[in-house]
């Protein structure tokens, strides 16, 4: 409980400090809005030209896009310490100070960063979700709301877990490893479209190694009333749990990795 309190306190402090430069903050927030708006424009143009892909209509595509961008940017908002700042913490030796404090390293890293500018990206994602749900005429039931919430929460944990792979590599090699971006940013680009349009190797990659298909596509397809591969209803609630599995596994590996951490000495 103490950890949660600590997290909330450091978040509010960090947000306050970021708001000290209101104009710069405002500009950057608008920039984020335009950036994510640009991503969405690409989807709109694709829907405008192709109308549908396999069994997915334009509305379905917006819904998938919205779920992915809400999950991804929620993670970037609250997990900035892992998703963005970690390599520089290792390189500059800032991580050393975390090791001597009486709290877990991971807790401190996550408490160490927040990125409130992402709020506009999340807003774009929500807009896409609403648009998609309208266009595909989804009939919302409490169960569907539950599935949506669970799916987004689990996808956040999964994305966090994937960024932790980069952090673990970074502990060993100091330099950030660009290749891991294929899983994180590549996962976002690929999985903002339904998984079953891709050829087998890509489907395997995003089902087994980085299970976006399980945390995001299975429940989303069920909500849209077109279950993926005809899977039964209960899978929409069980498969997303793979997100927490990845997160726990990566937390374990992270703590193992920290034992081999050597300070850069600067």
């Amino acid at each position: 409980m103490n950890t949660v309190k600590l997290y909330i306190r450091s978040m509010s402090m960090l947000i306050k400090s970021q708001l000290q430069y209101p104009l710069s903050f405002f500009m950057q927030t608008i920039a984020q809005l335009i950036m994510e708006g640009g991503e969405m424009m690409a989807v709109i143009l694709i829907v405008n030209r192709f109308e549908e892909v396999q069994e997915w209509t334009g509305g379905d595509l917006f819904f998938f896009f919205g779920m992915m961008s809400v999950s991804f940017y929620l993670t970037e908002l609250f997990g900035r310490g892992i998703t963005g700042d970690f390599p520089s913490m290792v390189r500059s030796g800032r991580l050393d100070t975390f090791l001597v404090r009486p709290r877990g390293v991971l807790t401190q890293v996550i408490c160490g960063g927040v990125d409130p500018r992402r709020i506009t990206c999340i807003a774009v994602g929500v807009a896409a979700l609403v648009m998609g749900s309208r266009m595909s005429a989804i009939l919302w039931t409490p169960l569907k709301v539950l599935a949506l919430t669970e799916s987004i929460a689990m996808s956040c944990l999964l994305i966090m877990g994937l960024f932790m792979i980069e952090a673990i590599f970074c502990i060993h090699s100091v330099k950030s490893v660009e290749l891991v971006n294929a899983l994180t940013y590549g996962g976002r680009s690929a999985c903002q479209y339904p998984i079953d349009i891709y050829p087998r190797p890509l489907r395997m990659l995003f089902t087994v190694i980085a299970p976006f298909a399980l945390t995001l596509h299975v429940p989303a397809a069920w909500i849209l009333g077109k279950p993926l591969y005809g899977l039964p209803t209960w899978t929409a609630f069980v498969t997303p749990l793979s997100g927490i599995v990845v997160f726990v596994l990566m937390t374990f590996l992270f703590h193992r990795g920290i034992r081999f951490y050597r300070s850069t000495g600067s």
Binding site: I34, F50, Y198, L202
Partner: protein, 263 residues
């Protein structure tokens, strides 16, 4: 003139040093290329378009290969402005604009050649429908390479215009990411310009962003006939000239109101 060439050569050599980062970058970019190819193939499966899929796939690969040409910035300058070290640059007996132009040109050229050439070789070996196809005609290839030259000058000039705007603020992230997004969208990196609505084509192909990579790629795939190169290359050269003029203007104005931060 010699001074700028020396700067250019030094930066070329420096960029050559980062070979380790290059391999990771290539693999990552290849992966993005594959994902995009898979996506467009799926989209095309039920809805063939006037632009053949092979052209779109080649477009994706060429865009990915020259990604470093689009998005490479010189981090030193902004650091210098923040720390006040810009004072040293202002003492140099060279024109600051062209000094940085030479630096960014070297960075973009070497960065994209080192990544682009191996990537395109691999992309050409991929099975049919997945990889880079051969150019429409040998003349088309020649025209594409020729138009890459003014495109390249345009790109460096555009980078300096962006830099000119960002120099004015100490915290450049907002404006920089906005200008970069404009470039990524309208240069065809996020979505091939050939897939934008047909009614937009007339306008977007005239924008400076389309001169960078879109025009050479269209000449390569045969979207533009070879003879059209005769009026595409002048348009590119015109934009390069205008952007350089705009850039030098902004830099000159900035130089007058430059504040050297103490520290």
């Amino acid at each position: 003139m010699r001074a700028y060439l020396v700067v250019f050569r030094m930066r070329l050599l420096m960029e050559l040093q980062y070979r380790g980062a290059m391999i990771g970058g290539i693999l990552c970019q290849m992966f993005f290329g594959l994902v995009l190819t898979a996506l467009y193939r799926a989209l095309y499966a039920g809805h063939p378009q006037s632009v053949p899929i092979e052209h779109v796939v080649s477009y994706v690969w060429l865009q990915q290969a020259f990604f470093r040409m689009l998005l490479a910035t010189d981090p030193d300058l902004l650091d210098k402005i923040r720390s006040g070290n810009i004072a040293y640059d202002m003492c140099r007996p060279v024109n600051m604009y062209w000094f940085y132009y030479a630096r960014i040109a070297a960075q973009k050229l070497m960065g994209s050649l080192m990544r682009g050439v191996p990537m395109l070789m691999v992309a050409a070996l991929l099975p049919k429908g997945w990889g880079l196809t051969l150019p429409d005609s040998p003349l088309g290839l020649l025209a594409a390479i020729l138009s890459l030259v003014p495109g390249f000058f345009c790109m460096c000039a555009l980078e300096n215009v962006t830099m000119g705007f960002t120099m004015r603020t100490l915290d450049p992230r907002g404006i920089q990411s906005m200008l970069n997004l404009l470039m990524m969208t309208f240069s065809g990196n996020i979505l091939p310009l050939t897939l934008f609505p047909d009614s937009w084509q007339r306008v977007i192909t005239l924008l400076p962003y389309a001169q960078l990579l879109d025009a050479p790629i269209r000449l390569y795939t045969g979207e533009y006939a070879v003879t059209e190169a005769f009026h595409i290359i002048p348009v590119q050269a015109l934009w390069a000239g205008l952007l350089i003029m705009l850039g030098t203007g902004i830099w000159k104005a900035n130089r007058k109101r430059m504040i050297v931060q103490g520290g």
